[in-house]
Each structure stands twice: as structure tokens, then as C-alpha cells.
């Protein structure tokens, strides 16, 4: 048969070849030429694994801080727009209104570079676990929304707000400085132990690469997880705090302003550190109400956020006398049995420092016992003038060196932020004030009785008590006993003894005097039946109002277990408030409870005292 159209075979072959070439060109374009197809990674995602933050325990393994879940809800705009969402139900479950819903969802994607309609962004943050549990059951009905779990802090015991601190979301500056350690939305310690030990408590963030199917559902791990990094929890912190004692201290100082610091002298561990007014750490947990709580605390005229125990600088008053006595004994200005006659005060030319009536100050111990102003002004004069009347600079700098060795005039190095150094007036200080060679001991003789230019923080006062209890050395007061599982040496600095320049034998004399303070001196209200307590009262003259009441003590006399400093602002005599409070703290710690009936009466009386309103009341009367 004749085929008239033989040549049309070529046309068909041509069509096939052209078709093949077209397909190959297209393959080349999308597989080799245009790299954008290979860089599209929508099918996998890196998920951050948040480590759980280290827990915080007290010295008896009582939980002080633990983690609880809080949820952020992330939204992917494009996926939400594609699906139909029952907004009414959604809003009801999350307890938000529709305006909030619209506002949170419709970001300015065109201009605001933080948001992309294709990437998840924060829709609603800080949803408490209880509320979220209700919502989560229905989460599958709302495609495009996903949860991110965050750990926030909870405080089972209402105590130690100043010490524990709180966490808050990192700011842009922190993120920049952290070199990738923090991301937007992370929490970090903002104050207290949370801040100081952030690197230990934080743990390490991990990452997990997951595969998603087209509905965004998790479909296993990318490359079987070879690139994944597991999250590493933070180390649990065992603190030196005694939660019961801390709570008790906060109770004792209720309706008062001031501070209590209790230290274990043999280790430097802080047993309790109270700043009054205190606040419940629970009100600063991450959540919607925090902002308001914070504002209230900041607005309070009594400054509850101000940690008086480590930040307030007070003149020590008479509690400085035992320290001066020890230094003077070391400098051989005093001998143990040196007596001085008190003429009702220290009189030097026109200068007059009053004293109160007391028994004969026949030795150093008695001087401490009766807290004789004359005795210590004279001692101070002799210490400053140890190189002669014309060389007070040399004598003062020798004294200042002693005081530095007692941990005064410098930050002790306690492990919470913002500790203050207090103030020890130096040669330079007086040179600036009076001019070089233009001052003598008489310009500042009141330092001898703890008044005037010397300022000490309550924690330094407690440390002084600890030094006397240890007869001449101290450990830096600290809260961190142990990080469970941490092998690093961050806590080694707290295991080092710091010696004063005073020989231990001199402290025995001081201790005897302090014992007598309790037995037969100004601190009788601090006596605890059946226990040898040593203490020293202080009544600090306050030019702005009523005197401050202060007390340092330690017990038992031999092998001391606790050293305490109490400072009650506007409390009047040291024996009125500070001494009983200190003794109650000691008894509570050493005997677990207040036993004797007269002691219980004292406790009730202290708890009932309301110095804060009294002060306001007196002010009002003044204005009238």
C-alpha cells in the first residue's frame, strides 16, 4: 500500500523530541538553576527545648521555688486565614474578647518586620496552666495555633522574697549581649538568687529538628535527630536558709521597718535574712497581675522592694563597742582589767558625749556590759592617737585597716545582687572634709560609740557577731550551700576563712562582756532560760525621728551555732525591740519553739507592736 504521508513521521518524531527537551529544560530550571526550591524548608522546623530551671531548697530540703508550666499561644496567620475557626468558642475558652482576638491576630505584616504571615508569632502569652488545660482539649479545632510551654516560678512558702528574687522576660539588650544564649520570650533571673546564680539555675537550651506534614503536624524527627541537642536542666540550688526561721523573722518584723540577719558562724551560711516590710515572693510570679503588684510595691513609701538587710546603711550604735574593745585590746590601748571612772559622759573641752547611770566600769567586760560611752570615747581617742596627738592620720588608718578586716566599709560579697558596702571614714575622707592636718580625734570621737560617720549594713552587723562568735574570723555570708550535681568551683570562695587582725584571746574578754550584757546588762530582755547567749544592744541616735533599736548576739557562748543582728528602725532602745527579737530568733532556731511562758508573752508582745502606724501617727500629731 502506498503511503502518501511518509514524511509526516518526521513531524511526529520532532514533536516527541521538542516535548522531551521542554521537560528537561523545566527540570533543569527548578532542580539546578533556581536554588530557591532547595532552600524552602517549610517541611521541617527547629523546636527549642526549654530546660527546666533549677529548683531552690532550704537547708532542710524544703522546697522554696519550683517550676510550673505557663503557656504561650503561637499563631500562624496564613494557616488561620485558610481555616474556619469558631471565634466565639475560642475567645470563650481563653477568656478574651473578640477585639483582643482581632488585635492579636492582625499584625502589621507589611511594615513590621518582626511578624510574617507564614511564621508563628506570639498570639497570647502567659496563660496559666489551669486555663490552658481547658483550652488544650479543643486545640485541634483551631489549626494554625500552637502552644509553647514555658516554665515559670512558684513559691510554696511565703518567705524570702528579697532573697529568692524573681524571673522576668529578657529585654533586647540582654539578648544582644548574651550572644545567642537568650531568645525573645525567654525568662531570666532579674533579682535575688535567681539573678545571682542565673548561669547555674538556667540550664542549657536544647533544640530538636522535627518534620512536619502539610497540616503542620509533627511527623517524627529530621534525620532521626542527629542534629538535636537535648535540653539540660539547671542545677538545683540548696540554700542555707531555714525556711521556718525566715518566715518567723518576717513575722516578728511585721508592721515594723528594719532587718534581721542570722548567720551560722562556723560556715558563714545565712540562716535567715529579713528585710521589713517584706513581700510575698508569690505576688511577683510571671503572669498578668505582676505589673500591678510591682507598681504597688514600687509606690509604697516604706520601700518594700529595698532590701534593707544588704542595702541599708545604718550607724551601728553601741553594738560597735565590742569590736572597738577587741581592736583596742589588740593594740594594747586597753588591758583586760583597765578601769575607767565615768563622770556621766565623755567631756573633752566643749565636747560632751552623754552617758547613762551605770555601775563601775572596772574592766573591759564591765564597759561592754554597761555600754559606757565615756569608756569607749576614751578608748577611741587613745586608738586614734596611738602615734601621738599630732598624728591622728596614722592612728586612724591603723584603725581603718582593722575595720576592713572585720568586713566593714566594703562589700562582703554576699550572693545576692546590689549589696552595699556601708561606710568606714578614712583619712582621705576627713582630709576632704576638714583639710589635710586640720583634724584631730575630737572631730569624730562619736565613732567610738558607733555614731557619726560610720555606717554598717545589717548583714555586716550579723557578720560582726559571727566574728566575735568565731573569736576572730569569718566566712563570707552566703546563701548557696550546694548546687546539686555541679562540679564547678563557684562556691569555693565561701569556704575560705577571713581573719581579723585581732588575736583570738582578746575576743574571750569581749565575749565575757557580751554574756554579761544578757545576764545583768542592757540586754536582759534577750535572756533565754538555760542558754548562754552573748549580745550587745545599740540605741542609735536618729536625727530624723525616734532612735533606732539594734542588737547583735550569738549563742551558745561556746561553740556558737547562730549569730544574729537585728535592726528596728525607730524602735527606740536596743533592749526594747531588737534584743527580744534577736533572742526569739535564736531560741526558735536552737530550740525549734518558744517554750517558757514569759518568753511566749514576749513573742506575743513583739508580734503585736505596730511601729509603722505609730510613726505615721506621730508625724500627724507633729503637723497638727
Amino acid at each position: 500500500m502506498q503511503d502518501l504521508y511518509q514524511d509526516r513521521q518526521q513531524v511526529l518524531i520532532g514533536v516527541v523530541i521538542i516535548g522531551t527537551i521542554l521537560l528537561i529544560i523545566k527540570c533543569f530550571q527548578i532542580q539546578v538553576w533556581d536554588k530557591s526550591y532547595q532552600q524552602q524548608h517549610s517541611y521541617r522546623r527547629a523546636v527549642t527545648l526549654y530546660p527546666s530551671r533549677g529548683l531552690v531548697y532550704d537547708r532542710n530540703n524544703k522546697l522554696l521555688v519550683y517550676n510550673s508550666a505557663m503557656y504561650d499561644l503561637m499563631a500562624t496567620y496564613n494557616r488561620i486565614r485558610k481555616s474556619t475557626i469558631d471565634t466565639a468558642k475560642f475567645c470563650h475558652l481563653l477568656d478574651i474578647d473578640k477585639i483582643t482576638y482581632q488585635k492579636n491576630l492582625n499584625k502589621d505584616f507589611k511594615r513590621d518586620k518582626r511578624f510574617s504571615p507564614r511564621k508563628p508569632f506570639e498570639f497570647l502569652t502567659k496563660i496559666p496552666a489551669k486555663r490552658f488545660a481547658l483550652f488544650e482539649e479543643h486545640l485541634y479545632q483551631f489549626p494554625g495555633f500552637e502552644k509553647v510551654q514555658k516554665n515559670v516560678r512558684e513559691y510554696p512558702i511565703n518567705a524570702g522574697g528579697h532573697i529568692l528574687g524573681y524571673i522576668s522576660e529578657v529585654n533586647a539588650k540582654q539578648i544582644d549581649r548574651s550572644m545567642g544564649l537568650y531568645q525573645r520570650g525567654d525568662y531570666a533571673g532579674a533579682s535575688g538568687l535567681e539573678h545571682f546564680y542565673e548561669p547555674q539555675l538556667r540550664g542549657r537550651r536544647g533544640v530538636e529538628h522535627i518534620l512536619k506534614d502539610k497540616w503542620g503536624r509533627r511527623q517524627g524527627k529530621y534525620k532521626d535527630g542527629v542534629d538535636d541537642i537535648p535540653a539540660q536542666s539547671g542545677f538545683d540550688l540548696v540554700t542555707s536558709l531555714d525556711a521556718d526561721l525566715q518566715r518567723y523573722g518576717e513575722k516578728l518584723l511585721q508592721n515594723k521597718t528594719g532587718a534581721i540577719v542570722a548567720i551560722e558562724p562556723s560556715t558563714g551560711e545565712i540562716l535567715a535574712l529579713v528585710s521589713a516590710p517584706a513581700y510575698d515572693p508569690g505576688i511577683l510570679v510571671v503572669g498578668k497581675k505582676r505589673k500591678d503588684a510591682f507598681k504597688k510595691l514600687q509606690g509604697d513609701t516604706l520601700k518594700p522592694l529595698f532590701n534593707r538587710a544588704t542595702m541599708a546603711k545604718y550607724p551601728p550604735g553601741s553594738i560597735f563597742k565590742p569590736i572597738l574593745a577587741a581592736i583596742a585590746l589588740q593594740e594594747k590601748v586597753l588591758t583586760p582589767y583597765r578601769g575607767m571612772a565615768c563622770r556621766g559622759g565623755y567631756i573633752y573641752g566643749p565636747l560632751r558625749v552623754g552617758c547613762h547611770g551605770h555601775g563601775a566600769t572596772s574592766d573591759v567586760g564591765k564597759a561592754i556590759q554597761y555600754s559606757c560611752n565615756n569608756y569607749f570615747c576614751q578608748t577611741f581617742r587613745e586608738v586614734v592617737n596611738i602615734y601621738g596627738f599630732d598624728y591622728p592620720e596614722k592612728g586612724l588608718s591603723r584603725l581603718v585597716d582593722h575595720l576592713y578586716a572585720f568586713g566593714l566599709g566594703k562589700k562582703l560579697g554576699v550572693d545576692i545582687p546590689n549589696e552595699q558596702s556601708g561606710h568606714v571614714p578614712t583619712v582621705g575622707f576627713f582630709n576632704r572634709r576638714y583639710g589635710k592636718n586640720r583634724w584631730k580625734f575630737s572631730h569624730f570621737v562619736s565613732i567610738g560609740i558607733g555614731q557619726g560617720e560610720i555606717e554598717i549594713t545589717p548583714i555586716q552587723m550579723a557578720n560582726l557577731a559571727a566574728i566575735v562568735a568565731n573569736r576572730g574570723y569569718y566566712y563570707i555570708p552566703h546563701f548557696a550551700k550546694e548546687f546539686k550535681g555541679d562540679t564547678s568551683s563557684v562556691l569555693d570562695i565561701y569556704k575560705e576563712r577571713h581573719y581579723t587582725k585581732v588575736h583570738p584571746k582578746h575576743f574571750d574578754i569581749v565575749v565575757k562582756g557580751m554574756e554579761d550584757v544578757i545576764l545583768a546588762g542592757t540586754g536582759r530582755r534577750a535572756a533565754i532560760p538555760g542558754m548562754k547567749v552573748c549580745g550587745k544592744t545599740g540605741t542609735v541616735e536618729n536625727p530624723h525621728g525616734k532612735d533606732h533599736s539594734t542588737f547583735i548576739a550569738f549563742a551558745p557562748k561556746d561553740n556558737p551555732k547562730i549569730a544574729v543582728a537585728v535592726y528596728v528602725e525607730n524602735g527606740g532602745y536596743g533592749s526594747t525591740y531588737a534584743a527580744p527579737i534577736a533572742s526569739l530568733i535564736i531560741e526558735k532556731y536552737l530550740k525549734d519553739s518558744i517554750q517558757a511562758p514569759q518568753r511566749q508573752y514576749l513573742e506575743d508582745w513583739i508580734l503585736k507592736q505596730d511601729l509603722v502606724t505609730k510613726r505615721y501617727y506621730s508625724k500627724d500629731t507633729l503637723n497638727r
Binding site: 502518501l4 504521508y5 516527541v16 516535548g19 521542554l22 527540570c27 532542580q31 539546578v32 533556581d34 506534614d213
Partner: protein
């Protein structure tokens, strides 16, 4: 010749190239189905009939049996019973209309858990019937009656399949028009078809058809000018006038541009009128009809096609107009999957995009995504070239047939294969609109694999007997 008469089992007569290419493609296809459905946690052996790859093995063996079976029958059998087959499949195509629809199409009979798609098998019988008709002794392609008969033979099953709601399979039958072309159908019909297609695509590519209309007017005017006066001077002058019109378009004075272009066309039509009035009228007529058609294509697509098909056209030609998560999504995901393979692919069973169900229908219509993602550019062109070589080999085989029936049958096989491959691979990459047809030998599916295997089996039988008789 006589020596070969009793040599039905003489394997030397078989075209081993086709057999090898067929085997290679089926094997590659099975690997791809395995890869797209493999899940290590649920793997229970290759013969797991709950899995596509397990079932496909069954279909492969059935296919091989049928191919061998096809060799048992006499080569004259197909030509003789062509009408019977054709009639029977038409009945099946009618019958399938009364089944319950699956995915919106009444394309399947369901028998004992297996689905059977008559439109796949109708391709074979139509191919056989067309070859039989074209090889009939009284056949003369120049006769209008024969043309209409041949076209009718193709259009009848197309119409029935369109009624099923399976537009993809319907389009595949267009392949037979290429067979008619080879048999001598008028070439101008194909040119008109190409022109209409080009015009449709061009007018759909742009929001307005003003530019296209002006281009048509100017080209028409130029043709009339050349007919009237062939000097270069006039041609250059016309070029400048055209540039003036283009300038008007650029200045967005569309009305003046159109008026100028119309004026040019009419002036030269008038000038040429006395010289060759038929050409003038024909040109003006064609230009007018083209512009009219171009202006109405958008309307036709927007109003006479279903939403679904409209979308596919827009996704193909105007992806920028489509919502990225709407109709565009599937094609984009398919392109991402293929594109992510890069040069040499992610490796066998390593295709994450296909594994995670980003690609729709990934073991059937979009199986090429798995090829692209796991085997990369090299694997993709390997598969494409295997197909091209197979098709060209079949075209070559067609030409060496002495019997007209065998020749036209082979052409049918080649054109159907080409349509399937080009449309299927093209759609996965966005080269052609999404048309749901399988990739021969590779896509999962019994009906598809078996019908293509029978198609090849009959071809092998006819080819092995090419020297047997002179029909």
C-alpha cells in the same frame, strides 16, 4: 518469509529494546511507589497487600501474564475482533456512568475491593479499532466521509469519558488525532488548532487583549502591504508607522492606538482590494475573528468552565493571581519537592517532602515528585529519556511494519505514551495545567499498568509477526 511462518515462539522476532525499556520503567516505577509509601515502622515485607507497593507487585505479575497471553493469540485476532472490542468497551463506558461516583467521577467499577477503570482499557480498544479502520482496504483519507468516520470513532469514547467527569483521560484521546495526522488528515486543521491554542494562551496571559489585538491588526496590515507592494521602502515605512502605534500603546492611549492599527489594516486592505480582493477579505476576516476570539477567551474560561478547571488554568498561566495556599498549593508543593532534589537528589527513601504528604496523589498522578526529590535532576532526565527513547523506538517500529494495521496501531501506542508522559511530567513541574492522568508504567494503579502493558504486549506481538504476512 516462509521460514519464519511457524516460528511463533521464535524470540528473535521480538523487539528487545522495547522489552528492556518497558521492564526498566516498570521496575523504576515500583521503586518509586515503594519510596513514596515506605514507612519503616509499618513495613511487613514487599508482598504486603495492604500497601501500594505490595499491590503493585501483584499488578506487575498480572501484567506480565497478560503480555505473555497477548503473544499466544494470533496477530490477526486483534484486527478481526477490533469492532467487537470497541463495542464492548463503549458498553462498559456507558455502564460505568451508573456507578456511584468516587472523587466526583464515575470512572470506576468496583469489584471485590479492586477498582477497575474502563477508560484505561478503552484506550486499547480505540487504538485497535482506529488502526483497523485506517488499514481497511477501502480507506481513503481524502474522502470527507472517512475523515468524519475516523474522527467520530475517536470522539465517541471521548464524549462518554467526559460524561464520567474525567477530563484528563478525555484529553489523552486527543493523541489519536496525531495518528490521523500521520494517516493523512488535513494539515491545516492542525495548524488552525495550534493557532487557536496559541491565541488562547496569549490572551489568557494578560489582563487585557488590547496588545494582542493591536499585534494582530499590525501583522494583518503588514501581510496586506506585502501582497500589494513588495518594495523594501514600503516595508520600512510600515515599520515606522507600527512603531508609532506601539508608542501610543506605551503612552497608554489605547483608543488611538487601536484606531490607528485598524486604520492601517483597512487602508492596505483597500489598496490591495483591486489587486487581490480575496486575500484582502480573508485577511481582514481572520484578523477580525481572531480578535473576537481572543477577547472572548477570558469570558469563556470564567463563565463556561467549572471552578475547578478555571483554577487549574489560572494556576498554570497566571500563578501570581492565585492564592498561595489555595489552588496554587499543590503545584507549588510538587515543584518544591522536585526542585529540592537538586542535582542528584536526596537518595532513595530520603525524600522528606513526598514522605510527609506535602504532595497530593504522590504515588499515582504526582509520582514524578518522588523521582525528582529522591533522584534529582540526573534521575529525572534519566526517566524522561527512557520514555523518549521508548516512544521514538515505537515510532521506528511503526515505520518498519508492512501491515498498515500494525503501523497505525504502533502510532497509536507512541502518541498515547507521549501524551501521558508529557502531560503528567509537565503538570508536576507546572509546565502544563494540572490534568489528572497517570505516568505510564510508573504511577501506582492496576488499570493503568495493565492497560499500558496490554498496549505494549499487542505491539510486541504485531511487531514480531511483521514479516509473517503482507497485509
Amino acid at each position: 518469509m516462509a521460514a519464519r511462518q511457524r516460528s511463533d515462539l521464535d524470540l528473535g522476532g521480538y523487539d528487545w529494546a522495547i522489552i528492556l525499556l518497558y521492564g526498566g520503567l516498570v521496575f523504576a516505577g515500583w521503586l518509586m511507589i515503594f519510596a513514596s509509601k515506605y514507612d519503616a515502622s509499618a513495613y511487613e515485607g514487599l508482598l504486603d497487600l495492604n500497601k501500594n507497593y505490595g499491590k503493585q507487585l501483584l499488578w506487575v505479575s498480572v501484567s506480565l501474564v497478560l503480555i505473555v497471553g497477548a503473544q499466544m493469540l494470533d496477530s490477526k485476532f486483534y484486527q478481526t475482533f477490533a469492532v467487537v472490542f470497541y463495542g464492548a468497551t463503549l458498553l462498559l463506558l456507558v455502564g460505568v456512568l451508573f456507578t456511584t461516583p468516587i472523587n466526583g467521577a464515575t470512572s470506576w467499577f468496583e469489584i471485590g475491593g479492586f477498582k477497575f477503570q474502563p477508560s484505561e482499557f478503552a484506550k486499547i480498544s480505540t487504538c485497535v479499532a482506529l488502526a483497523a479502520m485506517l488499514s481497511a482496504p477501502e480507506m481513503r483519507m481524502q474522502d470527507l466521509r472517512f475523515k468524519i468516520q475516523a474522527i467520530g470513532l475517536i470522539i465517541l469514547p471521548m464524549f462518554l469519558i467526559l460524561l464520567q467527569g474525567d477530563a484528563g483521560s478525555t484529553l489523552v484521546y486527543g493523541a489519536f488525532f496525531l495518528v490521523l495526522f500521520r494517516a493523512g488528515m488535513d494539515a491545516w486543521l492542525y495548524l488552525v488548532g495550534l493557532a487557536v491554542a496559541a491565541l488562547s494562551i496569549l490572551s489568557l496571559l494578560f489582563d487585557t487583549t488590547v496588545g494582542l489585538s493591536i499585534a494582530l491588526l499590525l501583522v494583518g496590515g503588514f501581510l496586506l502591504l506585502r501582497q500589494w507592494n513588495k518594495t523594501t521602502l514600503f516595508a520600512i515605512g510600515y515599520l515606522f508607522l507600527s512603531l508609532g502605534v506601539v508608542a501610543l500603546v506605551i503612552a497608554e492611549s489605547y483608543q488611538y492606538a487601536i484606531m490607528a492599527a485598524v486604520a492601517l489594516l483597512l487602508i492596505f486592505a483597500a489598496l490591495n482590494f483591486s489587486k487581490n480582493w480575496q486575500f484582502s477579505i480573508l485577511t481582514v476576516g481572520i484578523v477580525a475573528v481572531s480578535i473576537g476570539y481572543a477577547s472572548s477567551v477570558n469570558y469563556i474560561v470564567n463563565n463556561m468552565l467549572g471552578n475547578h478547571r478555571q483554577e487549574r488554568i489560572w494556576v498554570w498561566l497566571r500563578p501570581e493571581k492565585c492564592h498561595p495556599l489555595g489552588p496554587l498549593y499543590n503545584v507549588e508543593q510538587s515543584k518544591f519537592a522536585i526542585g529540592s532534589g537538586g542535582w542528584s537528589g536526596k537518595g532513595f527513601l530520603q525524600g522528606e517532602r513526598t514522605k510527609l504528604d506535602y504532595v497530593p496523589e504522590q504515588s499515582t498522578d504526582f509520582i514524578f515528585c518522588t523521582v525528582g526529590e529522591e533522584w534529582g535532576f540526573l534521575g529525572s532526565i534519566f526517566i524522561i529519556l527512557l520514555f523518549s527513547i521508548l516512544i521514538i523506538r515505537v515510532l521506528f517500529v511503526a515505520e518498519r511494519q508492512r501491515a498498515a494495521f500494525s503501523k497505525y496501531y504502533a502510532y497509536g501506542v507512541a502518541t498515547i505514551l507521549f501524551f501521558h508522559v508529557f502531560i503528567n511530567v509537565g503538570m508536576t513541574m507546572g509546565l502544563v495545567p494540572v490534568i489528572g492522568i497517570p505516568l505510564p508504567f510508573i504511577s501506582y494503579g492496576g488499570s493503568s499498568l495493565i492497560s499500558f502493558s496490554i498496549l505494549i504486549g499487542i505491539l510486541l506481538k504485531l511487531d514480531s509477526n511483521r514479516l509473517l504476512v503482507f497485509r
